[in-house]
């Protein structure tokens, strides 16, 4: 098995303590940083699919994301300043009035692992803060809104409305969270919906393609 295949396998299985050294070995073997990065992105896509189908659970996904992040640290000096981003910037946050963060964090990790640069605004984020963040950051191509409480669905709707009426463009809006359905997403004017972190990565790639 080539070192690049080893890297892929280590990310998939979440071997956080081994991946950095193996990425270095893959570089030493003559693989380009870009190829190694894409092998890791492919691994995370597999992880996302397995999570969506219930084959793996949150801990396995978290350690895979952590493994990838350790590998990216080794690659960074070799990536000519491009970082991991090839899909643009994603602004993500839990909408105002809601303090839940695990779903949002998982989606952020999956999107980052799939090639987005992540601007994580955290929890309880006002509609205006999302708009400001698009203005303040370069190449924002995706805005991801999370909400777990039925009581914060009106705020999610208000946030989508403000984003769409902001006069800013070049980005799509994806929404998710326990009470969010595909129907609700369409009703409030979002461009995409995903029921879990693995599907969010698939939908995000589709939206910015």
């Amino acid at each position: 098995m080539s070192k690049i295949e080893d890297v892929k396998s280590l990310v998939e299985s979440g071997r956080t303590k081994l991946v950095a050294a193996t990425v270095q070995e893959a570089l030493d073997e003559g693989n380009t940083a870009d190829n190694i990065l894409h092998a890791m992105i492919d691994a995370m896509r597999v992880v996302g699919d397995k999570f969506s189908t219930g084959e793996i659970f949150v801990p396995e996904m978290l350690v895979s994301a952590k493994a990838m992040s350790k590998g990216v640290e080794v690659l960074k000096p070799h990536l000519a300043g491009e970082g991991t981003s090839s899909l643009g910037t994603c602004v993500i946050g839990t909408v105002q009035g809601d303090l839940h963060d695990i779903g949002k964090n998982l989606v952020a990790m999956m999107l980052e692992s799939n090639g987005f640069t992540i601007i994580d605004l955290g929890i309880d984020v006002s509609p205006q803060k999302f708009v400001d963040s698009i203005k303040e950051n370069k190449d924002v191509r995706l805005v991801a809104l999370s909400g777990l409480l039925t009581t914060t669905m009106p705020t999610m709707k208000e946030t989508v409305k403000m984003l769409k009426e902001s006069g800013l463009n070049g980005f799509k809006v994806i929404v998710g969270g326990a009470p969010v359905t595909e129907e609700l997403a369409a009703e409030i004017g979002a461009d995409g919906f995903a029921p879990d972190a693995g599907s969010a990565a698939v939908m995000a790639r589709k939206l910015v393609a």
């Binding site: 659970f57 396995e60 409480l149 039925t150």
Partner: protein, 326 residues
Amino acid sequence: MLTKKENLMETIKGGNPDRFVNQYEFMDIIMEVPIDPFCEPGKEMKTSWGVTFRWPEGQLGQFPVHDEEHKVLKDITEWKKYVKVPVIKTADEDWAAAVAHAKAIDRKEQFVTVFYNPGIFEMTHHLMGIDDALIAYSEEPEAMHELIDCLTEFELAFAKEIVNRVHPEAIFHHDDWGTQRSSFMSPAMFDEFILPAYEQIYGYYKDHGVELIVHHCDSYAANLVPSMIKMGIDIWQGVMTTNNTPELIKKYGKQITFMGDIDSGVVDFPGWNKEIIAREVERACRNCGKLYFIPCLTQGLNLSSFPGVYEAVSEAIDKINKEGLR
């Protein structure tokens, strides 16, 4: 007509209940044992373990705070350095209110029930944040086993005080193990870490006069039901509709009873109304039947987030008990 207690026993043993058990009616819940209190709305508090909770204005509950300043356990491999086990209160005055409450309960009608929170899994993520905790279960299993042993030892010592002083017939114990759609961890990981802790804790209660273990977990956890049975849970409270409750009753009803199937998120919101509640109660009762099932909000106590909802659900169940299903 059976008493509330008799009707409950007929329900969970697959006998002849004469009506649906109505939500929490069979338990008189003692909240006064000296565990950490809940944070009050709009305030912040620190638990005896050093965990900071906030309940921001307008929110539906309290949240643990896990920024770098407030996170208690910053490195699982050094948990002994960070985790300070609190001293259990053993003065008579600390337990007086709970003891008095227990004495005032009509044991023929209701189970003398002690409330305990948080559970073992919740304690692990309260101490370090859920992302760190779930990674630690995967990456540092030895340290996690040690931490869980420590938490279990504390809970067993507390359980000893509870049984010696309050003599409860039931325990109502919280520990959420999943999200709406999935358990946080795989059944295999759950069986490695969480099951052994609860086999000890619930086993201790059962060995010391407790008849009923009622466990609250308002999430998807259908994949954990075999483990719940092994650890001695009699009633899983908080079962959400995403678990397919009728299917669970069919598969496991003789070993465990399911309490819930009326998702709080669907009926307990600012614009609630009695029509939605009647529809959801009717659906739950019709689909699940009287045996091995207790219609109830998935909320983890006999109350609701918005005034009137809990009572309206009880009224709707009463109506079905009097008039039958339509």
